[in-house]
Symmetry: C4
Subunit: 247 residues, 4 copies
């Protein structure tokens, strides 16, 4: 019943109405539904944006993520910061200045913000940085400051910043962190969630899925008393390991 | 196979048959299916109601939530408490007096009742009230007694009442609690589930999702020995925290 | 792509081909897909059967539960135990004698067998019987030996029997247990799964969902050191409870 | 929107374009979507291949598993190792030499590789082999070196090999393990995931689901202090068991 009706449109709507399933406005709708099903953006938490050349597509604030339609999108000119298209009933997402800050610093083509419970739990179990190494899924995360992807023996480091009262107040802390961690593909906000980006939306999606997998795994590992860093074989110190003397 | 056939109807059926996907009878069917998929209303547990002006739409008792059809709905006149439409084979939900009590006290436009396992687990880990603060998702919950939404630094308080033998016997305790907690958006019933409401069904849905997220997170936090209230940094006392001396 | 093509059929196929979505062969396909999505019948584990008057509809052995089609069904005459319809490529389910035993003893209209992980975990945490009381969801379980449903203050008792090498070897133990527990709606098989039944398939489905909810909840409760029986307030003895002195 | 358009094709595309839902290229797309939903292949992790006579169908590298289309497939001649069909924009999967190694050693008709979190957790809790016995679901795993399937009293043994920097570097270790464990249906790669195979894709899928069920159950059992091997009744030694003196 709520499937978007695809039609040709004139005026500002032409920026978001397309029968190409890879059009940014359609992709945001497809992925918000998918992320809702994965429990990353329930309760209207989280947000998503795609940049194509100079146009920034932004999911609106407060929308039911699984019911979003292309015509609900905002479209902004990245240079002038003018909205070229605003939907009828929605307000811009509070993530907007954060996404623009990421586009500015990281030359990203897409940004994803979720309230992933694994990200929140990791922010309650780690202090200034989340670190994990020697897990295959790490290889899905790009190096950024040089070509290619991390090795599975590299340590993935995700900085954790403190939450603020208003989402936009995170902007200077996020910008500072992007400068301090030029190789970062993500920033965790303590007791809040995670921001992830990539060269385009499909790469950002993969990085988000890979990192969330690692966050979920890290929470499980720590519940079994296993550190996510340290030498191979450190898991044998866990009291739950079959080789453990505590067993 | 079980998709509702949308058709114009006359007689009482005209109250529930509409090709508008935002009609209350269609929305209840859409959301009951969604909530079934999220495991909030399995085993015919839970219920849902929408109030539109003076009409109250009520999902029936004992129905398979993922197979509900608009013609299964009850429609009641809120003033006279007469049923304007009753389905052929179903009985009114035992939640009906509770929903009416909420409409009466809280001026809500929709009520949701689930048997969420996170709500039941929280009712087994907390005494008289569930309390949580310093989590971003708290901002999705309205203040009720004043305009706007909670800050993430506010403490969300959800009263917990004792269960009764019959669901309708909860009514006086719920009514009393609504008076004692005029800012509440939800009430947990110990060893039973949760009632959530909002100005309209879409707001009630968001509040339900946000609160359930917080309940699920709270259960995880306590399993790691982390209190859901107290000052920022209290998580460092957890034996699972990387800064912990117990580690 | 794998949606069943509904067509009128003659010969034995007429027993399973119908465009009525409530026909037993269609309902078994719909529910097996649903149960696959809920992770109750992955790896071709589990089974399902509906009895309508003297006809017993049986899902075959070894079929991909989410791809089952009405023409894959077996149909048996309950009196003669003759197959009135056998599918081309499948073998009868090893559950068949167990389902017949339940139809014989419990006058059920449908049987469900799953390899639910919660059922297996409960069979590893409880000895001869699973017992739980004072949880609302208990009210979805019928009394059987008298009219109506359990109260939430009643103790739900599900007997646990030992597993055997061959599934059909469970039959005498199941039959004996059905005699010893005439009020049972389910039997757990240790390290194996659970059998659930009801007056018809929709009631059996509700009972299965309600019991699985209680099994899942019980595993969580015990992980927090909370007994599933005993007086109200026993949860305060948990070291995880906010009132606990151990906290 | 992203549903594959089924059309007749000439040239190499004819190897992958078919309106038969059981054509290998269609089955890989159907199952990758299913496995994505089950969280086994998120973040483009994992891979899948089907062998039909001398043709090997291979899902490409780096593709969004839930959006895969038949025309994205590689098709290789198993004898010559020549690609008979390569998609436009994708690279061969790094799993390719591993899948070929399995086809060579195990005479399999299909291979599945996932980054299952349960497989990774098991590789952190067990040393050289994962072992489990006395669970019904074991019966879904074939004996390989003789006809038929394991008994539920048999011990399922899955070897665990160490991870390597490049996926293809696993090949000699996998080949060596296949020789040492001729009865194996799967190999776990520590901190990485699992490879599973079967006589055809539907058998491989069932074995993968059954083994993942057992891995997930094993992680739960160990979190309750229950060994996955040893005599029946060993679970009573768990401090969480109702008969436990530690309780």
């Amino acid at each position: 019943m709520s499937a978007p009706v695809i039609r040709k449109a004139s005026g500002p709507d032409s920026l978001v109405i397309s029968d190409d399933c890879n059009h940014p406005a359609n992709v945001i709708c497809e992925l918000c539904r998918l992320f809702f099903d994965k429990d990353w953006v329930t309760g209207t938490g989280g947000g998503m944006s795609i940049r194509q050349d100079n146009l920034v597509y932004l999911a609106p604030s407060g929308v039911q993520k699984e019911r979003m339609k292309p015509e609900n999108m905002f479209v902004m000119d990245l240079n002038t910061r003018d909205y070229l298209k605003t939907p009828d009933t929605y307000k811009p997402s509070a993530c907007t200045p954060l996404f623009l800050s990421i586009y500015n610093a990281a030359d990203a083509g897409a940004c994803i913000h979720t309230h992933s419970q694994s990200a929140v739990m990791v922010s309650l179990l780690y202090d200034k940085e989340f670190r994990i190494s020697n897990i295959e899924q790490i290889k899905a995360v790009p190096r950024i400051t040089e070509a290619g992807y991390l090795d599975n023996t590299d340590e993935l480091v995700i900085p954790i910043i403190e939450n603020t009262l208003q989402e936009e107040d995170l902007t200077p802390y996020l910008a500072k962190t992007l400068m301090e961690y030029p190789a970062a593909s993500a920033v965790i906000v303590r007791r809040h969630g995670i921001f992830v980006w990539g060269a385009n939306i499909w790469k950002a999606k993969i990085i988000n899925e890979a990192i969330d997998y690692l966050l979920e795994l890290a929470v499980k590992m720590r519940s079994f008393g296993i550190n996510t860093t340290g030498p191979l074989g450190i898991e044998k110190e866990s009291p739950y390991h079959e080789c453990s003397h505590h067993h």
